[in-house]
Amino acid sequence: MNKTQDIIKAIHSLVPPDRNLKIMNVCGSHEHTISFSGMRSLMPENLELIPGPGCPVCVCPESDIIHAIQLSKKEEVVLVTYGDMVRVPSKKGSIRTDGINFRIITSPSEAIRIAESEPDRTIVFFSIGFETTTAPTAAILETGIPDNLFILSSHRLTPTIMEVLVKDREIGIDGFVCPGHVSAIVGSNAWNVFSEKYNIPTVVAGFEADNLLLGIMEILLQVKEGEFRTTNVYSGVVRPEGNEQARKLLDKYFKVSDVNWRGIGHIPASGLELREAFSDRDARKLFKLEEIREEKIPGCICGNVVLGKAYPADCRLFKKSCSPKSPQGPCMVSGEGSCNIWYKTYK
């Protein structure tokens, strides 16, 4: 018997027969591994592997997308952002379909190069994502950015949204598989709150199927023992304290703020905005951007998918009017979105 079979056998023997369990992953790459490997079909019937809010473009508020589209229509502005972001729909279209002056970048460093090559234009970097993308934006601020480069920050905090999910009894999370590379920044200690305060078995896992299975096995071991802890099975990348230099830079340039999450709503202390000392780099202040009320996409259940309350296949638009080529909701856009992943793997 090989290692994978041994772990799957152990998972079956550890699952309590008399209750249903839900283990949530909070990372698009984890959901990718689970779906593409067919891992769900190998699990006991009473063990659900549910995807959570692991896709950054899926939770980016519609208001910010509309602002980005509108900014790109200003003659003096060039909007720059990551490729996934330009395809996310809003009631005013997407950046790709309705934006005018925009460029796709793969790194914040490219925003600097564009700003340097076009000194007479105002470059707005629509900077979105969780801790793994916030830290690089903090890094370019530390190095120094050109006077014509401004940040439209739409960054979100992973531990905060996970705590919101824990408190939602409708979801009923029995275990967390925490995101591997976010953990490299925040450290495995950042998740201790779930095991210590909420008695939820918590693991940090990598993206290889065996490592993820090992994490699931560890959660079930904790359930069986009734002893809860945060276990790091991705210790080759993640340290308990995380990346201290990255965390220091995050804290230097960003402060925690109350923000909206698409499909979820307003969540206090769950986002990051530039600190006052760097507000001269803040596109929201430069262009006096006000929050625009979010409108539901008819029929789309992305909000519930992100919260782990529904599977993509539960949506009546899934594989009908909503596909990666014609996404109706944000979860179908990115390769990290649950609907996009399920579109390619769900039979």
Binding site: C27, G28, S29, H32, T33, F36, P56, V57, Y82, G83, D84, M85, T106, S107, P108, S109, E110, G129, F130, T132, T133, A135, P136, A139, I140, E142, T143, G180, H181, A184, I185, G206, F207, E208, A209, G236, V237, V238, R239, N243, Q245, A246, L249, P324, S334, G335, E336, K344, T345
Partner: protein, 81 residues
């Protein structure tokens, strides 16, 4: 967007550097790592062009094995779509 890939550092001009993976070289930011912890030949996880953590060679190879499988599956799905 959030996918981290292992790369090997080939040049250091702190706070930037050059790293290589699969024969492709790319300029990367090193600001998120202390300068005195980095050496040419180190393997790092790179996110949106920035090194976020050092890893050993063996783990870099394992992660690439997984990424290769995922990329191959995605290619097959794209062709079949």
């Amino acid at each position: 967007m959030c996918v981290g890939v292992p790369m090997q550092i080939t040049e250091i001009n702190y706070p930037s550097g050059v790293a290589e993976a699969k024969g492709v070289k790319r300029e990367i930011g090193l600001q998120l790592m202390p300068e005195d912890t980095l050496q040419i030949g180190d393997h790092v996880i790179v996110h949106v062009g920035f090194a976020i953590e050092k890893i050993d060679r063996e783990l870099a190879d394992e992660i690439w094995d997984t990424l290769d499988e995922v990329l191959q599956m995605m290619d097959e799905e794209e062709k079949g779509a």
